[in-house]
């Protein structure tokens, strides 16, 4: 779409673990990617692979376990588990070293002072590691808190600059000046309450479950504005009508309840609710999976329209590969909490490298009976495919913009394949 290399969202080594008895369930494990401004990024994988969790972690519906999320260059989410892990690892390491030294000390009285010295050194090193990591933890905590302060400040500055001009223009006219001042005050109040995270909005999978059945469509759509602190009823109504028309509904729908709408219309309401906040980015979590084929096309077309008109960036989560391919500029494939492949959508479908991606692509049903009857599915068996006992895998760039989760040997193999 747009040739813009400005990174809007950066996810850096994101981990999201859930407690599951004594163990951790690694729902998302060390996932990194960037989304550029104005692009549509698709996230695919089978159910339970962590696509939705990734989306929800970005929008801070969960507290992330470790890793960082940057939005517009600000760190909006940070996990501290990795630092804590580093501290406890360092402690355990130091403790075992000291224990060994003490045993040596008891055995060999002659080297007592020397060993004492060594223990001190180890303790000092440990202290340094702990301090460093604690600082990082503090940083992470304060950083994510300061984000909103910074955002509010920038908003206030912009307002001040805007109104300074207006005040100058209206100088002398007391009535107009008073009105302007009132407006300025009001907007400042709203701005003070703003949060950066509201620039990311979410559309949920199930249009029935995600709309409160006791609220009218107007209330549902306006809720975000109300929470933001806008009190002007007329302004809100005007906005709601405008948005309703944008998403292909009519004004009269504002006073109805969600149950009076069909599936596609409900999903439009969900979209309207997200779009009214004028976000820079939308996380669409399986927005069409629960809809009929014909309605799916309506919703996809609407999202595409909105994207062009409002310059939205979209993180599109789905399991239907044909839809993702159609909708997205770049696609990331996830498997069991890991991102296994990431590339431009055309590139990914033309040159799939990771065996899981190949298996996924071979499972897509197409509306072509002759082809379908000859299609053979590739079965992915991670144990047979990879040998990760010695050579640990990581997420690497094989070709420009084409990343694969692999180890050294596989990297060589994939590079060979691309030539």
């Amino acid at each position: 779409m747009q040739n813009n290399n400005e990174v809007l969202l950066k996810v850096d080594h994101l981990c999201q673990y859930f407690r599951l008895g004594r163990k951790d369930l690694k729902a998302v494990d060390d996932v990194s990617f960037e989304i550029r401004k104005g692009e549509s990024f698709g996230l695919v994988g089978e159910s339970g692979c962590g696509k939705t969790t990734t989306g929800r972690s970005i929008i801070k519906l969960y507290n992330i376990t470790s890793g960082n999320v940057y939005f517009k260059g600000e760190r909006i989410g940070a996990g501290i588990r990795s630092y804590q892990d580093a501290i406890s690892a360092a402690r355990a390491d130091a403790a075992s070293k000291i224990k060994a030294l003490r045993a040596e000390k008891d055995a060999d009285a002659a080297r007592k002072a020397e060993i004492q010295e060594e223990i001190k050194k180890i303790n000092k090193e440990l202290g340094a590691v702990v301090d460093r990591n604690r600082a990082l933890i503090r940083d992470a905590k304060s950083n994510t808190k300061d984000v909103d302060k910074k955002y509010v400040e920038s908003l206030l500055q912009a307002l001040e600059a805007e109104y300074a001009q207006k005040f100058d223009a209206a100088a002398g006219n007391t009535v107009q000046l008073a009105a302007l001042k009132k407006e300025y005050k009001n907007r400042c109040r709203v701005a003070k309450k703003s949060k950066l995270i509201t620039q990311i909005q979410m559309i949920f999978q199930d249009p029935i479950a995600s709309l409160d059945p006791r609220m009218t469509v107007r209330d549902i759509i306006a809720e975000g504005l109300v929470i933001k602190g806008i009190t002007d009823k007329d302004y809100i109504n005007e906005k709601v009508y405008e948005i309703l028309e944008t998403v292909g509904l009519v004004r009269e729908h504002a006073d109805r309840y969600p149950h009076e709408f069909s599936g596609g219309q409900r999903q439009r309401i969900g979209i309207a609710r997200a779009v009214i906040m004028q976000p820079d980015m939308i996380i669409a979590d399986e927005p069409v999976s629960a809809l009929d084929v014909s309605i799916q096309a309506q919703v996809i077309n609407l999202l595409n329209d909105l994207r062009e008109r409002m310059g939205l960036t979209i993180l599109f989560i789905a399991h239907d590969l044909s839809v993702v391919k159609y909708f997205s500029d770049r696609i990331g494939v996830m498997y069991f909490g890991k991102m296994v492949e990431l590339a431009d959508s055309d590139e990914l479908f033309k040159n799939p490298l990771h065996p899981y991606t190949k298996s996924l692509l071979s499972a897509i049903p197409l509306p072509d009976p002759v082809y379908e009857k000859q299609r053979t599915r590739i079965i992915y068996n991670p144990i047979a495919e990879h040998d990760y006992r010695v050579d640990k895998p990581s997420f690497r760039e094989i070709a420009p913009g084409h990343f694969v989760h692999c180890n050294d040997a596989e990297e060589q193999k994939y590079k060979q394949q691309l030539k």
């Binding site: 069909s262 084929v293 014909s294 044909s322 049903p365 009976p369």
Partner: protein, 743 residues
């Protein structure tokens, strides 16, 4: 197409009573399902696909009304048979896989029990049913032979002789059943023994403790049973040796059980558990091998042996190997009985068939007359009843009593005709009433509107059916039977009496063995485990004891399929079986269904809204919209040469991997079926709609002998319309791809 029709749906019409009015969910749909094919029904939600499938299963919602039409299966109209009859078909002959696997499994029952439950229940019912059918068929055969003899007497055969033949046949079949019963018991015992051994070995392999002593007890008792029955020819010595070995290991195992264990057993009534020793395992493995070998031996043909034993009651064939026994008895049976009996059977079959054709000819005449009578209109109730009776009796006479595959159309002709005629007289009475009510309400509403009041209710549309339409319905029932008969008469030349004779004897044999086949819980378990492996569940023996929540979505759907297959159905209805699953699992499930279809020659009705899935599965496709089938054809025809604008719209609204252009979404939503549109239901959302689309429903146009579509665009006077570019592009790409495959 000369294939066996398994199920046919004719003019089915189903509505739902709701507070707002009558919702017409299915409006006059008809289709046939052939043996071994997959028919896919495609459409949006609310188009009536699921309603149709539920009607076939006889599980429609409580507020549904069957307004007309019939679902014919095995000589019965499924919309009209009582619930007890439906019990016999549901799950047994027609099975269903539902969309949501979790809601169709019982959460508090172990998987194994859910799979075996139906098997065990059905086995009991089958045995009873087998006996009844056997007697009925034999009686019909005897009667026909006698009739045939009366007309063309054979030298040296009298009616009394026929009675004797039939009696002999019956008696030696009973003898055969008895022998087979005993043999089956032995086989059952052997199978059970293998099952026990397998369980024991499995537990030991997985280092779990088992009650070895009592298991060995079970094995011993089974072994004894095998030794006593008709089974062991050539294996007596081996079995005896095994029995001694088992005795020994039992003693050894018993010695291992401590006093504490025994006390515990006495006090708690529990089992004393320990691990099987290596010697035990070895011995049991050897025994298992022998038993499996025995099971794989050629089976006795009890039909032949039965006769021999019947004639020579004092002989003991049990020591003879199966091959030799079969060889000897077949000769005896043929010379002594079968050859002459077969002559009679053939005579009867030929006679019955000739008579049937004759009757069919006269029935066709009667029907022709009846059609003229009804077409003329203006008849009284008595006249109509008389005509119906006459038609009914002549059609019933034309049913061949010896045909194994029942003629659905002829069997249900009487009831269908009666129903349609009844309806006619109902409309004669009801139409004026409805008109009056409608006029009254319209006047009321207009008066209110004229006063300037706000009217918040709609007029309930009149449910009036013009009398000539109803007469057409009556005529269509008659002409359906007539066409069927005419086709039969034409095909009479190619009739093979020999083939039919064998069919009858085989049918009788099959029913007889159905009577003796017993299924014990242990064998059911083994069968269930085999079935679970067949549908691709790993470690079936362990998973057998798990609960549904312990399975993932795809595995659950497999369990549901296994349950559906456990009764070995004729027809499988899949109601969106993969919609809740993701791509990889979906592909697995579809592959599984396709494989099972091939292996078992199943007929499948596959319901979905995903066209990609359909391309993979379907032989033929019916596209449904607003309760009607709008297009109907083979998969290739529907995908490569779609005719109906709705099919175009469906195809163009789904992106595939090469789609770049803007999707052609279908504007709007399906119509409210309380007020179904007068014309083509799709007209409002159709950009190709013509004026006539809003006024008149299009008829089904034939595109090719297998391809039909209901759109006015196919009318010779219709303007030429271009298929949307997105589809032509795709078809072109598909052809390229298909061409590449062909090379």
């Amino acid at each position: 197409m000369n294939r066996e029709i398994k199920l046919s749906v004719n003019d089915l019409k189903i509505s739902f009573r709701t507070d707002a009015g009558k919702v017409q969910a299915v409006r006059n749909i008809s289709f046939d399902l052939y043996k071994g094919e997959t028919l896919a029904i495609v459409g949006e939600s609310g188009s009536g696909k699921s309603v149709t499938s539920k009607a076939i299963m006889g599980i429609s919602a409580g507020n549904s009304i069957y307004e007309g039409g019939e679902i014919l299966y095995d000589g019965q109209d499924l919309t009209r048979i009582p619930e007890e009859e439906m019990h016999k078909l549901r799950g047994d002959k027609i099975a269903m896989i539902f969309q949501d696997p979790l809601s169709s499994l019982n959460p508090i029952m172990r998987i194994g029990k859910q799979i075996t439950e139906a098997m065990l229940l059905k086995n009991k019912a089958n045995r009873k049913e087998g006996r009844v059918t056997f007697n009925k068929t034999l009686a019909a055969l005897s009667e026909t032979i006698k009739k045939a003899l009366a007309e063309n007497p054979q030298p040296g055969v009298t009616a009394a002789d026929v009675d004797k033949y039939i009696k002999t046949f019956d008696a030696f079949n009973i003898q055969a059943i008895k022998l087979e019963n005993s043999y089956n018991d032995a086989r059952t015992a052997a199978e059970e023994m293998i099952a026990v051994i397998e369980d024991l070995l499995f537990m030991t392999e997985n280092k779990q403790k088992v009650d070895v002593v009592s298991s060995l007890g079970l094995i011993k008792s089974r072994l004894k049973e095998i030794n006593d029955k008709y089974f062991v020819a050539g294996y007596e010595d081996a079995l005896k040796a095994h029995a001694v070995a088992v005795e020994e290991i039992t003693r050894a195992e018993r010695a291992k059980v401590s006093v504490i264990d025994v006390v515990k057993k006495l006090v708690d009534n529990g089992a004393s558990k320990n691990e099987a020793s290596p010697e035990t395992v070895e011995t049991l493995k050897a025994l298992k091998k022998t038993a499996q070998e025995m099971l794989s031996q050629p089976q006795y043909n009890f039909f032949r042996i039965g006769y021999y034993v019947y004639k020579h009651p004092e002989t003991d064939l049990s020591q003879m190997p199966a091959d030799a026994a079969n060889e000897m008895t077949v000769k005896f049976l043929n010379e002594d009985f079968m050859d002459s009996f077969m002559v009679l059977v053939k005579l009867a079959v030929q006679y019955s068939f000739d008579k049937t054709i004759e009757h069919k000819k006269s029935a066709v005449e009667a029907i022709e007359k009846a059609i003229d009578f009804f077409r003329a209109g203006d008849f009284t109730a008595q006249e109509a009843e008389k005509t119906c009776k006459y038609v009914n009796s002549s059609v019933t006479a034309a049913i061949d009593p010896l045909a194994i595959v029942k003629d659905n159309v002829a069997y249900t002709c009487g009831s269908s005709l009666e129903r349609e005629v009844k309806k006619y007289f109902f409309y004669v009475k009801n139409n004026p009433k409805e008109e009056a009510r409608f006029a009254r309400q319209t006047a009321q509403r207009e008066a209110l509107l004229a006063k300037g009041k706000k009217v918040d209710w709609k007029i309930v549309p009149k449910s009036v059916i013009a009398l000539d339409v109803q007469i057409a319905a009556i005529v269509s029932v008659l002409s359906r039977v007539m066409n069927k008969f005419k086709a039969d008469i034409e095909a009479a030349e190619s009739f093979e009496a020999d083939k039919r004779c064998l069919e009858i004897i085989d049918f009788l044999k099959e029913k007889a063995s159905q009577v003796v086949y017993t299924l014990t819980k242990r064998i059911a378990k083994e069968k269930a485990i085999k079935l679970m492996e067949e549908v691709g569940i790993p470690e079936a023996r362990m998973r057998y004891r798990q609960y549904p929540f312990e399975f993932s979505g795809g595995m659950r759907q497999r369990i549901v399929i296994a349950i559906a297959l456990s009764a070995n159905p004729d027809i499988l209805i899949c109601d969106e079986p993969t919609t809740a699953l993701d791509v990889t699992i979906q592909a697995q499930i579809l592959e599984l269904i396709n494989r099972l279809k091939k292996e078992r020659n199943l007929s499948i009705i596959f319901i979905t809204h995903d066209l990609g899935v359909v391309a993979n599965m379907a032989d033929r496709i019916a596209v449904m919209y607003a309760g009607k089938i709008v297009e109907y054809g083979t998969a290739e025809e529907v995908f490569y040469k779609p005719q109906h604008p709705y099919t175009w719209a469906l195809l163009s609204s789904m992106p595939d991997l090469d789609t770049n252009e803007k999707l052609d979404a279908i504007p709007g939503t399906p119509p409210n079926m309380i007020y179904p549109p007068v014309g083509d239901a799709f007209a409002e959302r159709n950009k190709y709609a013509m004026e006539i689309d809003f006024e008149l429903q299009p008829p089904m146009y034939e595109v090719s002998p297998t391809h039909y579509a209901a759109t006015w665009l196919l009318h010779p006077n219709a303007p030429k319309v271009e298929i949307p570019k997105i589809i032509t592009e795709r078809i072109r790409r598909m052809e390229e791809r298909g061409g590449a495959h062909a090379e």
